[in-house]
């Protein structure tokens, strides 16, 4: 059976399951649309949240990032899992007890202010929008490879599918679809890792292989030592050492953790379960399911690093495996034969005096037009030629994108075609599940928080759901537009922005709203605005207005500045609150009541599952 056949089989089957589930569990009321009626089991919600959380970028690029930067990638591994501890002990049990459908709902009520709600809505929309653009792009790339169509057509197909089951099915539809998607992702991610672990370390548990011995070579050596040695041999830092300054990696990790705990699309997931007790159980499941993937990512990264170097470095082009030529064809790998010896040489920045390691000038390889004469397209060894000029300041000849590590892994290890088909299906599942979750938060932010609570309070239940569907359609159209015409490097940069913003706005404001009764609306608004303004200003200055590295505040990169923005938010809120009147009594009572668990004899208790209409 050919590769295409397997791809279509796996993707077709998984799609049939998703659509079937979505149609069966379609939402009929706002409660079902926003929170699936509040009756999802903790286990199912855990799987769904895990699928929602892990985006196409996590699924495809994270292992590649680990492979390339080694220890420094720990910031993502710890940041994106550690945030769930904060989320669980500081946020979601209380917000679930509060019992409303969205995050701006809580901010609007707790700070008794339409303005606070408005600021929260704008943040929620911005955060979700930046995320969903990247997802649409990811779906488009996978579909275009699969069907041999252009990326725009791929994006449109993806958008149509997401609209059908997220726009129509609401939270109830996507929750059960995400359960299926998690299963596909988990298998697709771990099965190749197991095979490769057996091949390289003779251990079928990848996590043990990573700390075990490398057994595929002539002599048995500790695996990480092998990795450090080959990295240093060709001029990279030791794999287990970092290049980032301690203060920078610390701040980035804090920003990612607190940002995670403040992401509205993750928080609302916990509104779908029955009560506060179920929230805690569900959080355990969520993190356990996420850990399955996050504990495997560093192993895939390390294994594929060894595989890549062993298979390609110092190999003459004629003897390279078939997959190298395939990735060359799709432009995800490139070789520039600088010294004309017909052999691939891969070197890191430490081998050149200028500390560069790019084989050509520019960030991505550029190719001659497909109708150019053959001698411009194909080199004398049969390699694909670039029109990018070779960068002669360093000896490195090999280029590859971060994204290909996970995709190339099964090829490098010589795994059967069905594993690759499964991986494709997993990748699409990752992109679709995240896009659907985000789309839902976007559409509820617009229909519920903006239309119902601010613009048109007399909206009926049914009208509100229609508005949500219209909003979903519009949001998706905008996301698809940016998926087709990405503002170049913009998307990658704005993801850091989304976390920084969540860390400097939602996280502190929600936290103080729950734990400090004295914090009032003046404080919260001033805090949110100053936190966001500082973070956004810093990021915009360094990412878009050409600020240089030497000007970084305390050596903190824009990626990590959200943690400072968060401190500013806390400080401003406390100071302003101290000099302005305390919040009204009923707000203080409300805070008191959300702190108490289910079953307390509190009359304003709203812990009962949301009423079905």
């Amino acid at each position: 059976m050919t590769q295409d056949y397997w791809n279509f089989l796996f993707i077709g089957l998984s799609f049939a399951v998703y659509i079937g589930i979505a149609v069966k569990s379609r939402a009929a009321s706002t409660k079902e649309y926003y929170t699936a009626g509040g009756g999802v089991s903790p286990l199912a919600n855990g799987m769904a949240t895990a699928a929602d959380w892990m985006s196409a970028a996590t699924f495809i690029s994270m292992a590649g990032t680990v492979a390339i930067v080694g220890y420094d990638a720990s910031r993502f591994l710890m940041g994106w899992t550690g945030g769930f501890v904060l989320l669980t002990v500081l946020m979601v049990p209380f917000l679930r007890k509060f019992g409303k459908a969205t995050v701006p709902d809580f901010i609007g009520d707790r700070y008794y202010s339409r303005m606070a709600r408005g600021v929260a809505v704008v943040c929620a929309i911005f955060i979700c929008m930046t995320y969903i653009m990247g997802q649409m792009r990811g779906v488009g790339v996978v579909f275009s490879q699969l069907f041999g169509i252009g990326i725009p057509a791929g994006v449109l197909i993806g958008a149509a599918i997401v609209f059908v089951y997220a726009g129509l099915g609401g939270m109830k539809g996507i929750t059960y679809t995400q359960v299926a998607q998690y299963c596909v992702m988990a298998f697709a991610y771990t099965i190749p890792a197991v095979f490769i672990a057996i091949a390289l370390t003779n251990n079928f548990i990848p996590q043990l292989g990573l700390i075990g011995n490398y057994t595929a070579g002539d002599e048995v050596v500790p695996f990480l030592e092998k990795l450090n040695n080959i990295n240093q041999e060709i001029g990279f830092e030791k794999y287990t050492d970092g290049k980032l300054a301690t203060v920078d990696i610390f701040c980035i990790t804090v920003a990612l953790m607190c940002g995670t705990a403040g992401l509205p699309h993750v928080i609302v997931r916990f509104f779908t379960v029955k009560n506060v007790k179920a929230v805690r159980t569900s959080a355990c499941w969520t993190l356990a399911f996420i850990a399955v993937i996050y504990l495997t990512a560093p192993t895939i990264g390390a294994f594929s690093r060894v595989n890549l170097i062993e298979k390609l470095n110092n190999t003459s082009y004629k003897e390279t495996p078939q997959w190298f030529k395939e990735f060359e064809e799709t432009g995800q790998m490139a070789w520039v034969d600088k010294n004309g010896d017909g052999v691939i040489q891969y070197y890191g920045p430490l081998k050149s005096e200028e500390k560069t390691s790019s084989p050509f000038q520019g960030k991505k390889p550029a190719y001659p037009a497909p109708n150019a004469p053959k001698e411009q397209r194909i080199g004398k060894h049969g390699e694909r030629l670039l029109i990018s000029k070779a960068d002669m300041t360093n000896p490195n000849e090999l280029w590859f994108g971060n994204d290909i590590m996970v995709m190339a892994n099964p090829h490098m290890a010589g795994l059967p075609a069905w594993v690759i088909g499964l991986l494709m299906a997993g990748c699409i599942a990752a992109a679709l599940s995240t896009a659907a979750g985000l789309l839902l938060v976007l559409s509820t932010s617009i229909s519920h928080d903006l239309m119902k609570k601010i613009v048109k309070p007399d909206l009926s239940d049914k009208e509100e759901v229609s508005y949500a569907r219209i909003a979903a359609f519009v949001a998706l159209a905008v996301a698809a537009y940016f998926g087709i015409n990405p503002p170049s490097a913009f998307i990658a940069k704005t993801v850091a922005f989304a976390f920084g913003l969540a860390a400097s706005s939602f996280f502190p404001t929600l936290l103080m709203g729950i734990f400090f009764k004295r914090v009032n609306k003046q404080g919260a608004i001033a805090g949110m605005v100053s936190g966001i303004a500082f973070t956004a200003g810093y990021i915009i200055y360094f990412q878009f207005l050409g600020g240089s590295k030497e000007q970084w505040l305390l050596g903190i990169s824009p990626e990590g500045i959200g943690s400072i923005g968060m401190l500013i938010n806390f400080a401003v809120t406390f100071i302003v609150s101290a000099f302005t009147p305390a919040p009204p009594q009923e707000v203080q009572d409300m805070v008191e009541s959300i702190r108490m668990p289910d079953g307390s004899d509190d009359e304003n208790s709203s812990s009962a599952p949301p009423v079905m209409h």
Partner: protein, 91 residues
Amino acid sequence: MSDQNPHHNHARYWRKNIVLVFVILAIWFTVSLGSGILFRDWLDANFPKVGNAPFGFWMAQQGAIICFVGLLIGYKFFMNRLENQEGFSSK
């Protein structure tokens, strides 16, 4: 479940909840930001290796995540016990 003096009960419940949260966050900080980043070099040099991996490196890439899952299971267990002790019946 109804209590003679609910306010007293509530205050004690909340205080214990805060203590638990502080303990969990202290461990959380130690295993991740502490072991994985701030004291990593010292731990790499002075702590026994985990398998063949330096201790700090292993904490940063594997150990911290395992501890996080453990922390949440602990949180669930102690909160449920606290609610039973303080007489909040759970449905």
